[in-house]
């Protein structure tokens, strides 16, 4: 399977339907790379004409901006927008809610206007339009699954239903945590916390959240954000439950269940 780049499309004088913005976690983090691969497998199987920027992609600047470093953010935004506009990008899909939020809400003021869609919504649309069909009796059929809302997908952008529809399409039994949807508890990674030690406290946020998820009795904790995935995976390990409880991205679950 070949993952096409924008440069290749340009060379052949063609334009993809959608740019897949991979993001730093999806590109470099070994766990998140699996999510990235699962998502391009879906794209490939459905026959979507997509492309990635490849080596030309850069950090959106999200952690720098949230940490307070506006200069660094503006530098990254400037360079990314130059590249995106240079390729005349119209539509972007990404598997990272932080990239999604920045591309959708913060780049327009800086001259980067695109239709931006998160992979949860993208996959849901493919399911709704019948382009993704699930295997009979797939891996997740009847399994108890809980979904952890990413803050930047949920509260920041009001996307609560799309990932849940995707899980329901797997014939799984969705169980909710007490703090879900707009009441959802953060995994602890946002606001550049991912890149520093947590401040002093009674417990770590990801441990609190993972315990809540494990206590639902779910066999799978579904996430739609590579950072949430890391934090929850750590939390599950902390409880020594990694043999019983899996932390999976919805793209991985769909890729494993497609007919």
């Amino acid at each position: 399977m070949h993952v096409p780049t924008m440069a290749e499309f340009l060379a052949s004088g063609e334009q993809p339907e959608v740019l897949f913005w991979v993001g730093c976690a999806g590109s470099f983090d070994q766990r998140a790379q699996k999510i990235t691969r699962a998502f391009v497998q879906i794209l490939d199987k459905v026959g979507i004409r997509y492309a990635i920027l490849g080596k030309e992609e850069m950090c959106t600047g999200d952690p720098a901006r949230r940490a307070g470093n506006e200069f660094m953010f503006q530098m990254m935004a400037y360079q990314n927008i130059q590249i995106l506009n240079g390729y005349h990008i119209k539509k972007i899909v990404t598997a990272c809610p932080h990239c999604f939020n920045i591309l959708k809400n913060e780049y327009p003021a800086l001259g980067g206007q695109y239709e931006v869609i998160h992979h949860a919504t993208f996959i849901q649309q493919l399911i709704d339009s019948g382009k993704i069909r699930m295997k009979e009796g797939g891996t997740f059929k009847g399994k108890k699954i809980t979904y952890h809302d990413s803050c930047y997908l949920g509260r920041a952008n009001d996307i609560y239903d799309a990932p849940r529809h995707v899980i329901e399409a797997l014939d799984a039994a969705l169980v909710e945590m007490k703090r879900c949807k707009s009441n959802g508890l953060c995994c602890g990674a946002g606001g550049a916390q991912m890149f520093k030690e947590e401040e002093k406290g009674d417990t770590r946020i990801n441990i609190d959240r993972s315990n809540e998820a494990i206590d639902t009795g779910a066999q799978v904790i579904a996430a739609a954000c590579p950072f949430c995935n890391t934090m929850l995976t750590d939390g599950v390990k902390n409880r020594e439950k990694e043999d019983e409880v899996q932390v999976l991205d919805i793209a991985e679950m769909v890729a494993a269940s497609m007919a």
């Binding site: 993952v3 730093c24 990235t36 470093n69 009001d158 606001g191 916390q193």
Partner: protein
């Protein structure tokens, strides 16, 4: 004697309204110390927000039981104030129950509605007092409320109970006097709630009853004037400011951070020097983020005065609930306290702020608090009156990083990785597409 009462009333009313207007003027001035921010667009959406969020208390209904209890106090406050209109007119004109003559039986009906509401308000205030002091709900006993804020909340509830009781005892004394056939006390018929108090007053003479009725009347209206003047010093100011605060709520998606146009331009001129305007010698030096209250937007400052310290933000905050130092409620309280201090400083120094060696950042809000925020927006989501503690946190963080270069070492490493490798981790940009290799090999 009657004239004396009228004069005393006019003096009391004028003094309390003057004092209230002066304090509200000071608060307005303090709020306007903030940076300009244009929040007058889309009036349709804004009126809708005010109607739903402030008038309809939509967000309170995230917890329906508490919302109903709170709504009773709110409705009681608004509706019983119609009765205050009569009380004020009686006070000014030297009349007694001015509206009874023209309204007749309907008057008694309306007073009965007020009495039922007054009773409900008393019951709810007792429930609220016990939530704070007996059940000790976590968000009411946490240490960010220590001292004045905790007393403030109790004073408000106790005052409301006293005011409502005075209203009921006033009616009971009035009805007793009616039963005695005392002059000036026209027969309104029995009152629904205070009727139960009438037997308690049985042994009192006409003179004693008149004294009781007058004392209740005076203490009640004086109490209302006192309460009005308590508002500017109290968290209870939310009963007024919730309305403008909902109107001026930011309408952008909550995930969107405010853009810093000046930094955007600076980067643009660095990348494309041909676009830069000629340098001017008298350009003011740039200031980044907020170090003190005047660096915040006026909306942040209005937020601070609108906060009623309910603590829904902190109860939902991932940092606070896991024992970190950050409490979004404290961020709002600190902002208001510092703003009040700056306002006082300016008043005693002829309108000019005299440096007191303090700033909101560091002296009120510590670096550790700011560093604990995950920007998850739970506090913003929870706030019933459209406050954003997050906005203040992010502005202070900007100042920390861009003015003071104060970042934890890991963040500095992250910044330099982004700058050099275009990713927050130390990977070569050449490896960005290495994840594709596995797939390519699979064919």
């Amino acid at each position: 004697m009657a004239y004396l009462q009228q004069i005393a009333f006019v003096v009391l009313a004028a003094a309390s309204i003057w004092l209230f207007a002066r304090n509200i003027g000071r608060i307005r001035k303090n709020i306007l110390l903030g940076r300009d921010e244009d929040l007058a667009d889309q009036p349709g959406k804004r009126w809708k927000n005010m109607l739903l969020l402030a008038f309809g208390q939509k967000k309170m209904f995230r917890n329906p039981l508490v919302a109903i209890l709170h709504f009773i106090i709110y409705a009681g406050f608004v509706i019983i104030n119609i009765e205050v209109l009569e009380i004020v007119l009686d006070g000014l004109l030297g009349t007694h129950r001015l509206f009874f003559e023209p309204l007749g039986g309907f008057y008694t009906f309306v007073i009965n509605v007020f009495e039922w509401l007054a009773l409900l308000v008393i019951v709810v205030c007792i429930v609220f007092l016990s939530r704070r002091n007996v059940l000790k709900l976590k968000r009411f006993i946490s240490n960010d409320l220590d001292g004045w804020p905790r007393s403030d909340a109790n004073y408000i509830l106790v005052s409301e109970i006293i005011l409502m009781s005075l209203f009921l005892f006033m009616n009971a004394a009035d009805r007793s006097l009616q039963n005695l056939g005392s002059a000036h006390y026209s027969d309104t018929g029995d009152f629904a709630v205070s009727g139960f108090l009438v037997p308690m007053l049985k042994g009192l003479s006409e003179g004693q009853l008149i004294t009781l009725e007058r004392v209740c009347w005076w203490v009640h209206i004086a109490g209302i004037f006192a309460f009005l003047n308590y508002l500017p010093y109290s968290k209870h100011l939310h009963i007024l400011l919730a309305f403008p605060n909902a109107y001026y709520a930011r309408l952008n998606p909550v995930g969107e951070m405010d853009n810093m146009k000046q930094v955007q331009n600076e980067v643009l001129y660095m990348m494309q020097p041909e676009l830069a305007p000629p340098a001017s010698a008298d350009a003011a030096p740039m200031k980044f983020g907020a170090k003190d209250v005047a660096d915040l937007s006026w909306k942040n400052l209005l937020d601070a005065y609108s906060c009623t310290e309910c603590g829904r933000c902190s109860s939902a905050c991932p940092a606070w609930t896991t024992g970190k130092k950050l409490s979004p409620r404290k961020i709002m309280m600190d902002t208001r306290d510092r703003l009040e201090e700056v306002g006082r400083n300016m008043r005693v120094n002829g309108g000019q702020f005299k440096d007191d060696g303090k700033t909101l950042l560091n002296d009120y809000i510590s670096v550790e608090e700011l560093r604990a925020c995950t920007t998850c927006n739970a506090c913003v989501q929870e706030c019933p009156v459209s406050i954003s503690p997050l906005s203040i946190i992010l502005e202070l963080r900007r100042s920390l990083i861009m003015e003071d270069s104060n970042a934890p070492q890991e963040w500095n490493a992250m910044f330099s990785n982004i700058e050099n490798n275009f990713a927050p981790w130390k990977f070569s940009p050449d490896e960005r597409d290495q994840w594709t290799l596995d797939l390519e090999q699979k064919g």
